[in-house]
């Protein structure tokens, strides 16, 4: 894998710059000349190769693309590799992808300033960067060939990894590596005219990992086996915020294979030779918890408090933050009669419930840390690990593996499960590897849920039946609270999708406000984040307004998009409606929804029927405008998967708390979508010459309102809370 010019090797010792940067880090102050990325990479031994940080060549000319983004299902590795291969004119069949090492300076996500996969940004964030990387490397090979053959560089051609000249001379990348590596990389290489793309946008851009993921050979954190490795499980508190008061490990220590039992900040760790022994040890463990500062509310109580706050009955000191507001706010609360529409919506906590529960491998040896896991936010993981071991973030090496799903769960500000593993490995110390394994129950009850959310909406219609005033209140717990990244204005993760909605743009008077009461339940982004609820509220409200106005919901949207100048929404809607054709399958009713998230617009026409009182979804016609679709096949895959993910939550997803304890523990109590309930998703891509925008998340939030709108058309009954199917029904 590593070519002769690959320079990602170790360099012993600490450089003067590391010391300077490290001092700045410890002191907490920025030094002149030290960027945040410098600080977060302090102590790192990662150096880019001759062809830059993203491309390496094997001696035989095979290309390895280093992805700064983790692959946990999104298909981004296919797209990232294709961007490089297109500009490099590489042989696509000889391009492979690996995860880049951790280094915020080289591999930072420009949308976050740290190394992080999220916000559906992998392709869009890498588009220019990887095009330049590929074009730059290509130029180096062209120059090397021109020099060797003594011909003008302008006469050199590159195709499928072969460098050639009209004279008949040709050479593969492999034959030219040594010379090309000595050519100075161009600062601004010429990029291709997109019209000349031969790989991007074609069906040749398929996944590179399908075979290893079909043979059991793909390596996940769960599969890491190292010599002398210990497996750890942790007894966690039953309520959020509890700490260990005391524990008795006498019986646990008697379990064959258990090596040690000790307290860590998040509970009591049992380390053993095998996973099963560790689990048996935990079962024999007795822990008493200090519950002095725990969250004791039930989710029903919290939901009622959120409703009270929206109704103006909250605590006096709770701050309301306005967004998208315009005109006379009083007018939005005034007026009575048939032109007024008023409703509320409730959304539950949701677990990510990835197929691979959270886990991590950590090795702590003095001030050196190595993490092997499906890291979604390498920089956060480095900083949190460094804090525990008291070292520099760059001294925390990360080998990023495939992860068995994330949907946002693996990136959080305290790096919860990673920090837990590092704390255990630190205690074990001496460079002995520790694999932390969470059971499904650990995973489902650990929190970091999509927060519980309440919306209250009041709309008055004008004489033509369109919104004249729109009053909107959102109450939820802040996801971004505690973020080390600075934030301006209201928490966008709570309002995105209502904020920026074309329907608010089309409404003359808007009074929209957000309240973020405190809560003891850890909350987090969950695939499509704010859109998980705002798309539902906006799209289901629109169908109810259209019904009230006596208008067709598709025509109603078209009129509002025209008022708002929302051309991309209109194009996606029209494409989905056109492709859906004139009538649904026999026995089905259609619902439509459209939502923009992560820069992309998705429109869906869902065909729904009711079976045994529960909605069942058949055909879902999807249109997406995501700019240039680097891999049409993987765009389709994300629409298929995103729709299932959204539908699963809409039908069944609900985490509840009783007196602060999570009621669900496994897939028997947290029901998820299965194949017999899965829809058939057809995907159409709106033609676009715009740069790529998000794909991994935008397919998730649209299906729930589309289903609700179909049910509204079927029965005239609106949906005011999710999930559709309540537990026990």
């Amino acid at each position: 894998m590593n070519g002769p010019f690959e320079k990602l090797g170790r360099q012993e010792g600490v450089s003067r710059r590391d010391l300077v940067v490290g001092a700045a880090l410890v002191g907490g102050a920025l030094l002149v000349g030290c960027s945040p990325a410098d600080l977060m990479s302090a102590g790192s031994k990662v150096e880019p190769g001759a062809f830059g940080p993203f491309i390496q060549f094997d001696p035989d000319g095979a290309v390895t693309v280093l992805s700064k983004h983790i692959e946990f299902g999104q298909g981004n590795h296919a797209g990232l590799a294709a961007i490089v291969a297109e500009e490099l004119d590489a042989d696509w069949s000889r391009v492979k992808v690996v995860h880049a090492p951790a280094n915020a300076k080289l591999y930072g996500n420009s949308t976050a300033g740290i190394q992080l996969t999220g916000g559906s940004s992998a392709i869009s964030n890498s588009w220019e960067q990887l095009r330049k990387a590929g074009a730059g490397a290509r130029a180096m090979f062209v120059q090397a060939a021109a020099t060797r053959w003594n011909v003008p560089a302008g006469e050199i051609t590159v195709k499928d990894g072969m460098v050639g000249h009209a004279s008949g001379k040709s050479a593969g990348f492999g034959e030219l590596i040594a010379d090309a590596a000595k050519v100075a990389p161009p600062e601004n290489p010429t990029l291709k005219d997109p019209k000349t793309f031969t790989l991007i946008g074609t069906d040749r851009v398929r996944r590179k990992d399908s075979l290893v993921k079909s043979t059991g050979a793909a390596r996940y954190t769960q599969d890491v086996q190292l010599p002398n490795m210990l497996v750890a499980v942790v007894a966690h508190a039953p309520r959020f915020g509890a700490t260990v008061k005391s524990f008795n490990a006498d019986e646990a220590r008697k379990v064959a294979g258990v090596a040690d039992v000790f307290q860590i900040p998040t509970g009591v760790a049992v380390v053993a030779d095998t996973t099963y022994a560790a689990r048996m040890g935990r079962e024999a463990l007795k822990v008493e918890w200090d519950e002095g500062k725990v969250e004791t509310r039930s989710s029903a109580t919290i939901a009622q408090q959120w409703r009270d706050i929206a109704a103006g009955k909250g605590p006096a000191d709770l701050k309301w933050e306005a967004f998208d507001s315009k005109g006379d706010a009083a007018a939005a609360s005034a007026g009575k009669g048939p032109a007024v529409f008023e409703t509320t919506y409730d959304f539950p906590y949701l677990a990510h419930a990835t197929m691979e529960p959270m886990n991590c491998v950590a090795i702590v040896d003095g001030s050196k840390v190595k993490l092997i896991h499906g890291s979604q936010a390498q920089t956060l993981d480095q900083m949190n690990a460094a804090k525990i071991v008291k070292t520099l973030p760059g001294s925390v090496e990360i080998e990023t593996l495939f992860a068995g799903g994330s949907f946002g769960r693996r990136a959080n500000f305290p790096s919860d499960y990673v920090a837990e593993c590092v704390a255990i490995a630190h205690k074990v110390s001496g460079g002995r590897p520790v694999k932390l394994v969470w059971t499904r129950e650990d995973d489902m009850q650990a929190g970091f849920f999509r927060p519980l959310v309440h919306h209250a909406v009041r709309v008055t219609l004008d004489k033509d039946g369109y919104p004249a005033t729109w009053r909107h209140r959102i109450v939820t717990q802040s996801i971004m609270k505690g973020s080390p990244m600075p934030m301006k204005g209201p928490d966008q993760t709570a309002i995105e999708g209502t904020a920026g909605s074309p329907y608010l743009k089309a409404t003359p008077v808007v009074d929209a406000q957000l309240a973020l009461p405190e809560g003891g339940v850890p909350v987090l982004w969950w695939r499509s984040v704010g859109a998980t609820h705002t798309a539902f509220v906006m799209e289901h409200t629109i169908d109810q307004l259209a019904l009230k106005a006596g208008k067709d919901p598709v025509d109603y949207r078209r009129a509002l998009y025209a008022k708002a100048g929302a051309q991309r929404h209109l194009a996606a809607l029209n494409l989905a409606v056109e492709k859906a054709g004139p009538a649904p399958a026999a026995g089905f009713t259609r619902g439509v929804a459209v939502h923009e998230s992560f820069g992309s617009v998705v429109a869906q026409v869902a065909e729904v029927r009711v079976v045994d009182g529960h909605p069942r979804v058949g055909r879902v016609v999807t249109a997406i405008d995501c700019g240039v679709a680097v891999s049409p096949d993987q765009v389709a895959a994300q629409m298929e998967g995103g729709t299932c993910f959204g539908l699963s939550a809409a039908l069944y997803g609900e985490i509840t708390l009783t007196d602060g304890k999570v009621d669900q523990s496994n897939f028997d109590t947290y029901r998820v979508l299965r194949i017999n309930e899965a829809p058939t998703v057809e995907t159409y891509i709106v033609p676009s010459g715009n740069p790529p925008s998000g794909v991994g998340e935008p397919g998730t939030p649209v299906i729930a309102p589309a289903v609700a709108n179909a049910l509204l058309a079927l029965s005239r009954t609106p949906t005011t809370r999710l999930p559709f199917v309540q537990a026990g029904t």
């Binding site: 299902g73 999104q74 997109p194 019209k195 793309f197 991007i200 946008g201 074609t202 996944r207 399908s210 075979l211 993921k213 079909s214 043979t215 059991g216 793909a218 996940y220 769960q222 086996q225 095998t274 996973t275 099963y276 419930a353 990835t354 197929m355 691979e356 529960p357 495939f402 992860a403 068995g404 994330s406 499904r440 194009a571 494409l575 492709k579 700019g627 240039v628 679709a629 049409p632 096949d633 895959a637 298929e640 998967g641 995103g642 299932c644 993910f645 699963s648 496994n666 897939f667 028997d668 979508l673 299965r674 194949i675 017999n676 899965a678 058939t680 057809e682 891509i685 033609p687 010459g689």
Partner: protein, 180 residues
């Protein structure tokens, strides 16, 4: 006391206690990590193996119950099994973590039912959860592996007028239908 197990055509001696679930013996003792841990209570199917040809959830099957049984894991399929070939052709996997179990369930289905109906597929596969939602490609791949025709190809959408046709073509403005 060691137990003897017949795994992937070989008799192996394992040290684990008889009540240990097969899953942990495969993964931790034998290093056969293709079989995955997902739930530990036969809810998700990620741990599916074959026992005498039948799909079985190894996370709840103690090795004491397997004396004399022929056990086959994902590693026994060799990468060229028709189901695996269909999985690659359709790019079924996303995160991939559930796919060993999906493939073992699908292989058992096709060994017993040569031309499965949609209902057969639902019955055989509804014990396997995929959180990425690859279900429609799973369905298409099973039908493909069975030699059945897949769903019809959907025609490409008409390019709207305000974009350059060539850029649009380069942007991948293709229509994609079920399982294509």
């Amino acid at each position: 006391m060691a137990s003897m197990l017949d795994i992937n055509g070989k008799t192996v001696s394992v040290k684990a206690a008889p009540e240990t679930p097969l899953l942990w013996v495969l993964r931790d003792e034998l290093g056969l990590t293709g079989t995955k841990f997902g739930c530990g209570m036969a809810q998700c199917g990620a741990c599916t193996v074959h026992v005498n040809g039948d799909p079985v959830r190894s996370c709840v099957t103690p090795i004491a119950a397997l004396a004399g049984a022929k056990i086959a894991t994902i590693e026994s399929l060799g990468g060229t099994h028709p189901v695996q070939q269909a999985w690659v052709k359709h790019d079924v996997p996303q995160c991939g973590y559930c796919q060993s179990g999906q493939i073992m369930s699908a292989a058992a289905l096709l060994a017993q039912t040569k031309a499965p109906s949609d209902e057969d597929i639902d019955n055989a596969m509804s014990g396997n959860i995929c959180r990425c939602g690859t279900y429609q490609r799973i369905r298409a791949a099973i039908k493909d592996a069975a030699g059945l025709t897949g769903a019809p190809v959907v025609a490409a959408p008409v390019a709207s007028n305000d974009v350059d046709d060539e850029i649009a073509a380069a942007s991948g403005s293709t229509g994609r239908g079920a399982g294509q």
